[in-house]
Point group: C2
Chain length 220, copies 2
DNA sequence: TCGTATCTTGACCACTTGGTCAACATTTTA
DNA sequence: TAAAATGTTGACCAAGTGGTCAAGATACGA
C-alpha cells in the first residue's frame, strides 16, 4: 500500500547537483544495476521483483546493490527514468511540415521497431501503467501531456487542411501506441497463436498496419 | 520462481466431477471470493496481491478464504477461468455469412464496449500475459488458437473474394484486440492525457476506430 | 608507500505473507 | 432435537523480503 509513493525525480536530481563527482566504479555498477533491473522489473513487475533477483542478474551481492541505490523504489525509479525517454522519443520527430500520412506511418513504423528491439522497455512501461502509474503519473500529466497535445494540434491542422481523414487526433495516437506496443507486451500470446518466426511476424505486422493506416487515414 | 506452475483445470474439474454437491453457502462464498479476487488481482497483479486483501475485499477472514480455495494460486486460476470466456466470447460470433467489414466492425465495437464495462477482466488478462502467461498458456495454445485459426480462415476467404483489403488476418485481429483493450489496460495514461469524461472518450474512440477500420479494410 | 575514501559482503533484523490447525459456530439431516 | 457435516476464525509458523551494519577489501591521491 505504501509502495505507491515513489518519485521519478530522486534519480534525476542525483545526476544534476550531486555534491561529489561519480567514480568510475560507481558509473559502471550503477549502469550494470539498471540494466539488470530493467530485465527483472520488466518481466516480473515491481512487486514481483526482488532485490535478490536484481543482484543475481547483475552479478553482485544484494548489500552492494543497496549501497548504490538506497531502496528498491530508487532502483525502480532510475530504470523507469532512463527508459521513458527512449520509449517516447520518436513522437517528438513528428513533423508538421512533412506529408501527414507519411509522417504518421513513419512514427508507427518507428514504434513497431522499438517494440521489437526494446520489448523490455515496453513491458516495463505497461506494467507500470497497469498498476495505476504510481510513479510515472506526474510525468504523464506534465511532459507527456504537453508533447501529445502539441502533436495533436499538428494532426488537427492536417485534418482541417483536408490532408487527413477526420479522426480524433488523440485516439489516432492511442491506436498507433496500442497496435505497436501490443507486439512487445503480449508477446507470449502472439507466439502462442502463430508458428511464424519473429522475422516474418513483424514483417506481416508492418504490412498490415501500413495498409490499414495509410488507407484508413487517406482524406475524402 | 515456483509460482509459475499453476493450472487452469483445477477449478474446472471441480465443477465437473466433484464427489459431493455444492452447498448454498459454498456457492455464495466462492462467488463472493472470485468477485473480490478479480478486483484485487486485476489491479495489483498476481504477486502484488495478498490473500489478506482478497479477504478484506470479500469481507471474510483469510482463513475462511483458504477454506474454500486451498491456495492463492487456486483462487487466481478460478478467477482467470471464469473471466476468460467472457473476455474472448465475442470473437466466436464473427459470421462468415455476414458482410465482412460490418462483421469485423461489430466485433471491434463489442470488444470496445467490453473494455469499458469490464476493464477488470481486461487488466487481469493483460497482467497474466505480461508475466509470461504462466497459467493461461495452455489455453492460448489450444482453445484460443483453434478459435483464432478458424476465424482467420474466414477473413482470408473474404480477402480472396475481394471483399476485404489484403491484410494478414491474424494481425488484423491483433490490431482490433490491442486498440480496444488499450482503453482498459492503459486507463491511467489515457485519463492523464485527456480531460474529457469517459462518455466522450469512448465515443471518440469508437468513431476514430470505425473510420480507420472501415476505410482501411475497404477492398481495392 | 601510506592513509583515506570508496567499495563489498555475510550476518542479521523486522516485517509481510501464504498456509495450517485446533477450537468453536452454524447449518443440515434424520 | 441431536448428531453429523459444514462453515469460521484467531493464533501460529516457516519462508521470503527489504533494508542495516560492522568489518574487511580495494582503489586512489599525495
Amino acid at each position: 500500500m505504501a509502495d505507491d509513493e515513489i518519485n521519478l525525480n530522486g534519480e534525476v536530481a542525483a545526476t544534476d547537483s550531486s555534491p561529489r563527482k561519480r567514480t568510475r566504479i560507481q558509473i559502471r555498477n550503477e549502469a550494470r544495476i539498471v540494466r539488470a533491473a530493467l530485465d527483472v522489473f520488466s518481466s516480473n513487475g515491481y512487486r514481483g521483483s526482488t532485490v535478490d533477483q536484481i543482484a543475481d542478474t547483475a552479478g553482485m551481492s544484494k548489500a552492494n546493490i543497496l549501497y548504490y541505490f538506497n531502496t528498491k523504489q530508487d532502483i525502480y525509479a532510475a530504470v523507469l527514468a532512463r527508459t521513458l525517454t527512449v520509449w517516447l522519443d520518436p513522437l517528438d520527430e513528428l513533423d508538421a511540415g512533412g506529408d501527414p500520412i507519411e509522417e504518421l506511418w513513419k512514427y508507427a513504423q518507428q514504434k513497431l521497431q522499438l517494440s521489437r528491439k526494446a520489448p523490455h522497455a515496453s513491458r516495463l512501461f505497461a506494467n507500470e501503467i497497469l498498476q495505476g502509474a504510481p510513479v510515472v503519473r506526474p510525468f504523464l500529466e506534465n511532459q507527456l501531456k504537453a508533447l501529445v497535445t502539441s502533436k495533436c494540434r499538428i494532426i488537427q491542422t492536417w485534418i482541417d487542411e483536408g490532408k487527413l481523414a477526420p479522426v480524433a487526433p488523440l485516439h489516432l495516437i492511442f491506436l498507433i501506441w496500442s497496435a505497436t506496443q501490443h507486439y512487445a507486451d503480449f508477446a507470449p500470446q502472439i507466439s502462442a497463436l502463430s508458428d511464424d518466426p519473429e522475422e516474418m511476424l513483424y514483417e506481416q505486422a508492418e504490412q498490415t498496419l501500413k495498409l490499414i493506416l495509410t488507407r484508413g487515414l487517406a482524406p475524402e
